[in-house]
């Protein structure tokens, strides 16, 4: 098997996780900026985090022979403070041309507040100005449906944003059609306690097709499984899906989307 992990927070994971992913066939890992589980609180802390994502973590991954890419932003969970957000966003142009940066992300909404929406719009404007790909986080649980609709409205109201250059992550059965019907890419996150299980993710693929969609583990500091993507691939195989069908979702689709940024190189798979 070969696959790409298109959304993993490796700064929170161990070297054992890197080794296990490689053994399962991981050919590249992509790490959006996210919430640390606590508020970083200061612009300087975010500056350091951007350095970690663009210097330290790709070096750590390289020790295992794994290409590491990243996305930059201030995450929606810390977007309730627009003053902090504005300063953090002002750092992004300095980092955006680093060799492993693919775009702006994971931006989006968390509790669907006015300040979160304002900060989302600033990120969208920056992505348009710098002609960057966008990776979007949609809210959790009861907030997901409303948040997904607000995010779609914000993206679609910007004249320079092209849907094919935006992936909207953490879709589930009630949001996947909204996203795909508008021409955006969709990401399914495989979590043991929330979001999608492997079985549901394969159901969604069967119902909504394998184009413009990927699966990720979004593994981080919480309850999450770095091996979730290969496990879901095995679930699809057990149902009798062809290897080509599975390969499209776990390998070809991430390449297709992320290759829209020339810094992304099609990885070699063993």
């Amino acid at each position: 098997m070969r696959y790409i992990e298109p959304h993993a927070h490796m700064v929170s994971r161990t070297t054992d996780d890197y080794q296990a992913m490689l053994l399962a066939g991981c050919a590249a890992v992509c790490e959006p900026a996210f919430w640390a589980g606590f508020d970083r609180g200061t612009p300087e802390a975010f500056y350091n985090y951007f350095q970690q994502l663009t210097i330290h973590e790709p070096n750590r991954a390289a020790k295992f022979g794994l290409p590491h890419y990243t996305w930059l932003c201030i995450n929606p969970k810390e977007a309730e403070d627009p003053v902090l957000a504005k300063e953090v966003i002002s750092y992004i142009p300095e980092f955006i041309k680093k060799p492993n940066v693919l775009g702006i992300g994971e931006i989006g909404l968390n509790k669907n507040s006015k300040n979160e929406l304002k900060v989302l719009e600033w990120h969208i404007e920056l992505a348009a100005e710098l002609d960057q790909l966008i990776l979007v986080h949609t809210p959790h649980l009861e907030d997901k449906l409303k948040g997904t609709k607000l995010i779609l409205d914000a993206l679609r109201s910007h004249p320079k944003i092209k849907p094919e250059r935006v992936i909207i992550d953490h879709v589930e059965e009630h949001t996947v059609k909204l996203v795909k019907d508008k021409g955006f890419w969709a990401g399914m996150t495989l979590y043991p306690e929330s979001k999608c299980t492997a079985a549901r993710a394969v159901d969604i693929l069967e119902n909504f097709g394998t184009d413009r969609i990927w699966m990720n583990s979004a593994c981080d500091w919480g309850v999450s499984v770095p091996m979730a993507v290969p496990k879901a691939a095995l679930e699809a195989k057990a149902r009798g899906h062809k290897l080509k069908w599975i390969d499209q979702v776990v390998y070809q689709n991430p390449i297709k989307f992320m290759s829209q940024n020339k810094r992304f190189k099609k990885p070699e798979a063993i």
């Binding site: 919430w35 969970k77 309730e80 968390n110 509790k111 669907n112 507040s113 006015k114 300040n115 979160e116 929406l117 809210p139 959790h140 649980l141 009861e142 907030d143 997901k144 449906l145 409303k146 609709k149 607000l150 589930e172 059965e173 009630h174 059609k177 079985a199 549901r200 394969v202 159901d203 069967e206 119902n207 909504f208 097709g209 057990a238 149902r239 009798g240 899906h241």
Partner: protein
């Protein structure tokens, strides 16, 4: 698009692969409801939403997973004034009182 698309498996194959797991989860839900009913106190919005969601599971309409998710979702449309915190609890508590 709807759930009419086939997985490519026969009904028997789907049941062979998933019945025991689903049976286990259903018993877990039944035990959870027993536990709630044995406990002291009143129902809150979460367990009310849960009981409502179960009617979607037992109904005859298709797209049951989607219907359950929708039943737990905030149906309002406008952004809220301020985030009350960072977490989500899994069910919509209703409009915040100002």
């Amino acid at each position: 698009m709807s759930s009419k698309k086939s997985s490519g498996m026969t009904r028997e194959q789907v049941l062979d692969m998933y019945f025991m797991d689903a049976r286990c989860k259903l018993i877990d839900i039944a035990a959870f409801l027993d536990r709630v009913e044995r406990s002291e106190g009143k129902d809150d919005f979460r367990i009310k939403a849960f009981r409502e969601a179960i009617t979607e599971v037992t109904g005859k309409k298709k797209d049951k997973a989607k219907r359950v998710l929708l039943s737990f979702s905030d149906p309002s449309k406008k952004p809220i004034e301020e985030a009350p915190g960072k977490g989500a609890c899994g069910a919509w508590p209703g409009e915040a009182k100002s």
